[in-house]
Symmetry: C2
Subunit: 147 residues, 2 copies
DNA sequence: TCGAATAGACATGCTGCTTGACTATATGGT
DNA sequence: ACCATATAGTCAAGCAGCATGTCTATTCGA
């Protein structure tokens, strides 16, 4: 049924909206008022493994020049540091500072709080289903829409 | 479990990314190459009911000036027309043209195609569940994240 | 060892949005 | 009927976040 599909599509967009807004709000409330959602996507990647600017650019879907500018901004604000890449003299690895980790933690807590709100909307015995369903239908890939 | 919630959160973001990208691609393929996703969010609202610029601004989460500029652009490209608001001499109602409706239709078809891809990832007997679950957890509100 | 590829910075420009100021119309109180 | 205030929309200017183009330093493959 076409209407079902459209309804599911808009539902996903509304959930994403609620989530992004919830994370932004939660992060602001913990005192990180100089970060945007794209920084969160960068942090999520950097918290997995140290990454070069070019790798980060590909992950975010913007140019390396734009990424470089953003990285400079985040370093000035104390969220990141550069450390030389031992295997490549041209590159430097971007590493989260304590502040960067703290901000990432705030974002994760806010995200969890938003998901908890979603859980409240369905019966207790379907909440495990929700997680399994979302895990099953989503695949690895970019986290950030190219707006 | 906190990890479950984070996993669900990222799943939703990945789905939204896949959906936005799928819609953009599908719309482009049908020849609408001068529209961005924010225009789609505007079309979705206008296809429900004629709307003024200020109402549309609130819905999109941007200023009325920004909206006004966008509306002018869309009128020049033939997606919208202005018609006077019979109940308010200051306002005009924005109405989708045939081209605007055609573009909206293309977006809906592309969205449905993406959701169909999601369905392929889970067993046939769980697909109805997917729609019901998404409908149940999402609530009315803005469609567009404030990025 | 030398040519091509890659990481990253610097300069420049543009687009999409903001803030601020303004006009025209509407609305509510007196 | 009148005026104060609010609202719809436009015009002008500015800015942030990207893109494009060019450059250097380093790496890698033949």
């Amino acid at each position: 049924m076409a209407e079902d599909k459209w309804s599911s599509a808009t539902a996903v967009l509304r959930l994403a909206t609620e989530l992004i807004d919830g994370i932004q709000e939660g992060v602001n409330e913990e005192g990180f008022d100089d970060v945007r959602s794209i920084h969160g996507f960068a942090f999520a990647r950097l918290s997995e493994s140290p990454t070069t600017t070019v790798q980060l650019a590909r992950h975010l879907g913007i140019t390396k020049q734009g990424t470089s500018e953003m990285v400079t901004h985040l370093i000035e604000r104390g969220y990141l540091t550069r450390s030389p890449d031992p295997t490549d003299g041209r590159a430097s690895l971007l590493v989260l500072t304590d502040r960067g980790h703290a901000c990432t933690g705030a974002a994760r807590r806010a995200a969890a709080a938003t998901v908890a709100v979603w859980e409240q909307r369905i019966p207790v015995d379907r909440r495990q289903d929700l997680h399994e369903m979302l895990d099953a239908v989503s695949i690895a890939g970019r986290l950030r829409p190219t707006w």
